[in-house]
Amino acid sequence: MYEVRIHSRGGQGGVTAARLIALAAFRDGKHATATPFYGAERRGAPIVAFARIDENPIRIYSQVRSPDLVVVLDRTLVPIVDVLKGLKPRGAVLVNSGHAVSLDHMKVHRVDLTGIALDENLVIAGEPVLDTPVLGAIARLGVVSLESATKAIAELFQDPRNVSAAERAYREVVL
């Protein structure tokens, strides 16, 4: 089973990103679940969401405790949340950042999702959209196929800039 934990702030689309991962994995022909962890949080508060992908039906409902991939949509969370908690020994980390991120001497993949969203004018209520472009970067890591990622995005969002932003993130992620 492949498990993903997404760290974001309320309103940044962490929950939607988890749903997109599950939908894309489903389009790849796999079983997948996406679960938000809803706390009493409000917009701006740190939140987590989970996605699981497997060849077989998934019977686990509890939170992901040892993720294969940690996604951080907001790098200001790094000093305040233990984003690496429980990460599998060969697990991967993907951070939304325009420049190199040092995390406990870990190899960190980065992609400037905020920059891409602003560039593509993919902004809702003054906030750059991160949940659709991040799926492109996740596809680059091999978690889901790019084809299914773009299909999943197009299924949920009509604005074609979501797909083009994801394709850019796919190309621009620094591995």
Binding site: R19, A22, F26, R59, Y61, S62, Q63
Partner: protein
């Protein structure tokens, strides 16, 4: 068609296909997505029904009761405090023999305020005369909702049905769903005692001590008949659509010495715990109870039983554990876990089995003597 949706959406989809004539709705977390989605179907013209946005849950059930009494198929959804606010009307729907179908997204009862999964909301309504079923996947939520209309409206039953699903853990989790074309699986509702202006009659008149008990006995007869009807409908569903359900869902139970009994998502996660325990040489199995009312006849003789309750009856014990004590004459290890969304993993469930103490009660997370 195959898609991936939350269980809330799965239920809305099933309701759309069952085409109720009246849906009364009042939002409450974590149920809101169900009535929101249904409102969308109605607004887009995909579902032709009277959608009544009422001012409270009490009114939601009252509206369903009124429409159902006129012989119309009805649906509503609620959670927790909303369900409790309906309490009087729940008795009314059952006593008036109205086949209302309702989804209850199980959520803790406050105070302290808590929006997460807990079965005490529904279990505290167990004596209202409603059938109660607990599901564990989006697919099962969808399939069971379709079956609920058929079961409630069966002339041998004519009692309301409550479909229960764990708040957030299931209601907001995306899983795969295969929808069907129910077609003749849900025939039109024919309520024999529907209000008919052409033939005026009195409904629910004062009933004296000489007659009241007979109405109650009729309800109980229908509850007993519901056991047969449930099995018949589940069999018909399997025949038409290929997915098989039972009063209980059993996992690796055949040769099991120890059974974990629970309802909802905890029982499904327990399957992973059982796989671990089996790998250690412990012959364990999971019996997931789907139907809580009518309560099934279970043969648990010769097995040790670990019951997990995501609920509690104060001054007595876990509702499921205590029900099994009396219905199946067993002395289980009673674990109280998952209250108000308390995190319970398959590792935790495996440890409940490893450290079982038959006849005792254990509150997960509570330190010291309990």
């Amino acid at each position: 068609m195959k898609e991936i949706v939350t269980a809330n959406y799965a239920i809305a989809e099933a309701v759309k296909q069952a085409v109720p004539g009246v849906i009364a709705a009042y939002p409450i977390t974590p149920q809101t997505e169900i009535v929101e989605r249904i409102a969308q179907y109605v607004a887009r013209g995909e579902l032709a029904c009277d959608y009544i946005p009422v001012e409270s849950e009490h009114s939601a059930m009252a509206a369903c009761i009124g429409a159902s009494a006129a012989g119309v198929r009805t649906f509503t959804a609620t959670s927790s405090q909303g369900l409790l606010y309906m309490h009087e009307m729940l008795h009314w729907a059952a006593g008036a023999r109205l086949p209302v179908v309702m989804a209850n997204v199980n959520r803790a009862v406050g105070p302290p305020w808590n929006v997460w999964a807990d079965h005490t909301d529904a279990l505290s309504q167990r004596d209202t005369g409603w059938l109660q079923v607990y599901v564990a996947t989006a697919q099962e939520a969808y399939d069971t909702t379709l079956m609920a209309f058929r079961i409630a409206e069966d002339k041998e039953v004519l009692l309301p049905v409550m479909v229960n699903l764990d708040g957030f853990l299931l209601s907001h989790t995306m899983q795969d769903l295969e929808t069907v074309e129910p077609g003749s699986f849900i025939p039109p509702l024919h309520l024999p005692h529907a209000i008919d202006p052409a033939h005026p009659a009195a409904y629910a008149p004062l009933t004296g001590p000489k007659d009241y008990y007979r109405f109650r006995w009729e309800m109980e007869k229908s509850m007993r008949a519901a056991r047969r009807v449930i099995t018949r409908v589940e069999k018909d569903f399997a025949g038409r659509f290929g997915r098989r359900y039972g009063v209980t869902e059993e996992y690796r139970c055949e040769d099991a010495d120890i059974l974990v009994v629970a309802m909802g998502t905890l029982a499904r996660e327990a399957e992973v715990a059982v796989d671990r325990l089996r790998a250690e040489g412990t012959r364990a199995g999971v019996m997931r109870l789907r139907w809580f009312r009518p309560f099934p006849t279970l043969d648990l003789t010769g097995r040790e039983v670990v019951v997990i309750d995501r609920d509690y009856s104060f001054g007595f014990g876990g509702v499921l554990a205590r029900s099994l004590c009396s219905a199946a004459r067993i002395e289980p290890f009673s674990v109280i876990a998952g209250l108000g969304g308390q995190e319970v993993t398959y590792e935790d469930i495996a440890s409940f089995v490893r450290e079982r103490r038959p006849g005792e009660e254990y509150w997960f997370g509570v330190k010291g003597d309990v």
